[in-house]
Amino acid sequence: MRRLVLLLLALTVCGGVCAQRIEPPASGPANPTFGAPPDTRLPPSVPSSPGMPELIVDLSQPRVSITSAFQGESLLLFGMFDPPGEIVVVVQGPAARETVMRKERFLGLWLNTGRLQFDDVPAYYFIAASAPLQRLLARGAGGEILSLEDRLATIRPARQRSPAQLAEFRQGLVEVKRREDLYPANFGHVTVQAARLFRAELPFPSRLPEGVYDVRTYLLRDGKIITAVSRPLPVGKVGFSAQLAGWSGEQGPLYGLAAIVMALVLGWLGGAMLRRL
């Protein structure tokens, strides 16, 4: 029953509206635009051959909404493919410049002495696969599908450093991101059912940077990418949180005044209560 519902959902929601199809990359160098947000200039997905597309993907939610009660969220990615094949899902947060700082001991105290900026660092990176990823990548899809290590090998330091230092700071970056669950340490599992339905859990932690995430699903056959579907996943604050954050960002002085008035009123009332007691 559940499979049927999933299948129906997949068919109705994803009838070419939400997903955009990406042609498998030509053989040769790795696709350099991989880190960029999904290209919206492409026409919406049109199956390359008439009839059923080979890969259909949908998410349990069209966006990740950061509300006042947000504590992190797990999204369900599900879909259907033409067997045989293996499924790999790569979720990538928006790229930004990150500053990695390193503490060192100075006169017995620990303080930040080293720092290095990296450009094009994905805010979030998660891979799930229906088979051990190393095996899939070893068979030739490595140019397009990047493990976290390979993806981070592409980030550029803002300043030139020795390879040893670069490696250290890159490792530091991974350490911090791991700590915040933004680079989940384990590969996720894509569960395949009835040889053609698949599902995967995408874990998003509470401290989640905003932006448009890219959820890319690949269908692999004999180590070759047959087709790929990319779905933008907007992550953003909604409701009260969004209003406050927007207000704080755009109307800073007014927001500050409102905060002062709130504190004055509550403090005054608190003081009045204190006298009564």
Partner: protein, 308 residues
């Protein structure tokens, strides 16, 4: 129960934050200081970014000082003239402090500066309080009817130019002294997110020689406006005031303060000051330990910059 803090950009337990506010309020009620010196390090310790902790705590200090100012004003314990002179320095200092904060944040040293300043300030004040309460205790035991000496001792600071009369405080001192004091407290307020009462009150007693009756009210007066200035500037320049966080801290404080003042009413002043000294020393020791201990990971991330 978790709540998402829109500016800190993370979820946090409501009761934890409420409890932190309550502890700060308890201190405010017991000792007449803001309690920010305890709340800000704890907020940072539970994972709130220092910039947000400091700015939101400044917002909380407003509520704290307005409720105790209410009481002090009614009792006539505010030296308005002294308060305004202090405030002149305080406004300049807090404005400079917010700029300094922004700069330190940009070079990635704000956490370190906050921790070091706290260790230095808290340990010196804690020791001062402990010694003072110990010596009062022993003096009283030895000679309970010792005559009162001069109101305060006269030394170098009383020879500065620009003297002003402060009738309520029974002082004739240079205006530069309170202006300078206000300036320093303003900087501390902006960088540490504290009202600065825990520095201002001893300084007013020992440095300016103000009578203790007007000290709390006058310091509350100055702190209220300085905290408002810090809140405004932090919101306008850094956008780091989290009103959801501040609201929880304020509500906690409203509950904690009356409990604190009840406890204070039952304990003698010497015991209160000794307790306060112990508490301040404990926070200072913990912060020092944090600075000396090898961190679990030496790496951290600065702010993300989304490039166009």
């Amino acid at each position: 129960m978790e709540i998402y803090l829109p500016i800190a950009e993370q979820s946090m337990n409501v009761f934890l934050l409420f409890g932190l506010g309550g502890a700060a309020g308890l201190l405010a009620g017991m000792f007449g200081v803001g309690g920010g010196f305890l709340a800000t390090p704890l907020l940072i310790f539970v994972g709130i970014p220092p910039a947000v902790a400091v700015a939101s705590q400044a917002n909380q200090v407003i509520a704290n000082s307005v409720s105790s100012l209410q009481v002090q004003w009614r009792r006539g314990n505010v030296d308005l003239r002294m308060g305004l002179v202090l405030l002149l320095g305080g406004m300049l200092g807090s404005s400079a402090g917010v700029s300094l904060f922004t700069w330190l944040k940009a070079i990635g040293q704000i956490d370190f500066v906050i921790a070091v300043l706290y260790v230095i300030l808290l340990s010196s004040i804690g020791l001062l309080m402990l010694f003072e309460s110990a010596s009062t205790y022993f003096k009283r035991r030895r000679n309970p009817t010792a005559p009162r000496g001069k109101l305060h001792t006269h030394y170098l600071v009383h020879r500065l130019p620009g003297k002003m009369r402060f009738y309520k405080s029974k002082l004739y001192i240079s205006a530069f002294l309170p202006i300078g004091l206000g300036f320093v407290i303003g900087i501390l307020s902006a960088i540490l997110g504290v009202g600065g009462g825990f520095v201002l009150v001893p300084a007013m007693i020992y440095l300016l020689g103000m009578p203790t009756t007007v000290v709390i009210g006058t310091s509350n007066f100055q702190i209220l406006f300085v905290a408002a200035n810090v809140t405004f500037l932090q919101a306008a320049t850094n956008g780091t005031v989290d009103v959801v966080l501040a609201l929880l801290l304020i509500l906690g404080g409203v509950v904690g303060a009356p409990i604190g003042s009840r406890i204070a009413a039952r304990l003698p002043g010497v015991v209160l000051r000794a307790l306060m000294g112990v508490l301040v020393m404990a926070v200072a020791t913990e912060l020092l330990f944090e600075l000396l201990r090898t961190p679990a990971s030496p790496y951290s991330l600065g702010p993300r910059e989304v490039l166009p």
